[in-house]
């Protein structure tokens, strides 16, 4: 009985929910941002050049999506656990704007350029697209971290 209560208390104790959600959040953004970054490095012509960018995109996109779903779901749990703290946090708004632009960008311009990229040298335009993508995701990560510091 006592043990059962202890387990129930642990599960009911919402103090666990936040760090647990964070432990999903971080590996999931490693997966989503990491796979996008691979495509970006390929667009820049500095990694995995044996494969075309289009093929690499097709290969990595399912994992990007898996990562994004987990990251958004765990992020929603983090947000809902203390909305009043996030809603007055300027870094939170910065992060959300970066994230929104990054996601829309990823599935529109970024995807279009990556899917139609030529197999060898990337034109300057493709490189700009890759750098913008990297910066948007860096902004999202930085904005998220600074929530705890502003």
């Amino acid at each position: 009985m006592l043990l059962q209560n202890a387990v129930a208390d642990a599960l009911n104790n919402t103090e666990w929910a936040f760090p647990l959600a964070e432990c999903f959040h971080i590996p999931a953004f490693a997966l989503s941002i990491g796979t996008i970054a691979l495509v970006d490095l390929r667009l820049l012509g500095v990694a995995l050049r044996r494969d075309s960018t289009a093929k690499l995109l097709r290969d990595t996109e399912p994992w990007t999506l898996v990562g994004l779903v987990i990251v958004i779901f765990s992020g929603a749990i983090l947000f809902l656990s203390q909305t009043q703290i996030y809603l007055v946090n300027s870094s939170f708004y910065f992060k959300m704007v970066c994230l929104l632009i990054a996601i829309v960008y990823n599935f529109t311009i970024h995807r279009k350029v990556a899917a139609s990229a030529a197999s060898d040298a990337s034109p300057v335009g493709a490189k700009v697209v890759a750098i913008v993508s990297l910066l948007l995701w860096l902004g999202t990560v930085a904005g998220g971290l600074f929530i705890a510091f502003v």
Binding site: F29, A30, L31, G34, L134, F146
Partner: protein, 173 residues
């Protein structure tokens, strides 16, 4: 003065700790490395498991991403060292920190064991009709170790040391 106190009282480490900006910027660097280069570790493991990047050979993935992972590792460890040592007094009694360091050591051992038989033998793996189980074991262990590493790193922030006993005596005076 304890070892951790003498470490964190080194001038530039004190400066890092007391700066409003340097500490979070270092943390951002550490976390951005997880995002950009941690993803490469995941993708390498998934390739060894036969779950991703199947258009590329194992050799192309392992060898192609190696310099990037090394670059990321150097930046990540540098930022982590500065973060940890500038707050040495806080980290020294933290069990999550020491668990994380233990996992880091295990990752080193993982490399010692699997580099000669998996990561430096990728051409042999590519020739094999099915991915050999030693490669899958290496990938599963790598996934588990890195996930543990990230979770312990995050949990460091949640440790609260036991309060020092009995300040009451002075209050009663």
């Amino acid at each position: 003065m304890t070892i951790s106190e003498s470490i964190q009282s080194i001038d530039f480490l004190t400066a890092i700790r007391e700066s409003a900006l340097v500490y979070p910027v270092l943390l951002t660097t550490h976390l951005a490395c997880i995002a950009f280069f941690g993803g490469m570790i995941l993708m390498t493991d998934l390739r060894l498991l036969g779950l991703s990047l199947k258009n590329l050979t194992i050799t192309e993935v392992v060898v192609g991403l190696r310099p990037w992972k090394r670059l990321g590792g150097v930046i990540m460890i540098t930022a982590g060292l500065l973060l940890g040592s500038s707050e040495a007094v806080k980290y020294a009694p933290n069990p999550f920190f020491w668990t994380k360091m233990t996992i880091l050591a295990l990752i080193g051992i993982h490399a010692l064991i699997f580099r000669p038989i998996v990561y430096n033998k990728t051409e042999e793996l590519d020739r094999s009709p099915t991915i050999p189980s030693k490669a899958k074991v290496a990938a599963y262990l790598s996934l588990a170790l890195w996930l543990g590493m990230v979770c312990m790193g995050r949990l460091i922030a949640y440790y609260e040391p036991k309060q020092q006993p009995a300040p009451q005596a002075t209050l009663l005076k």
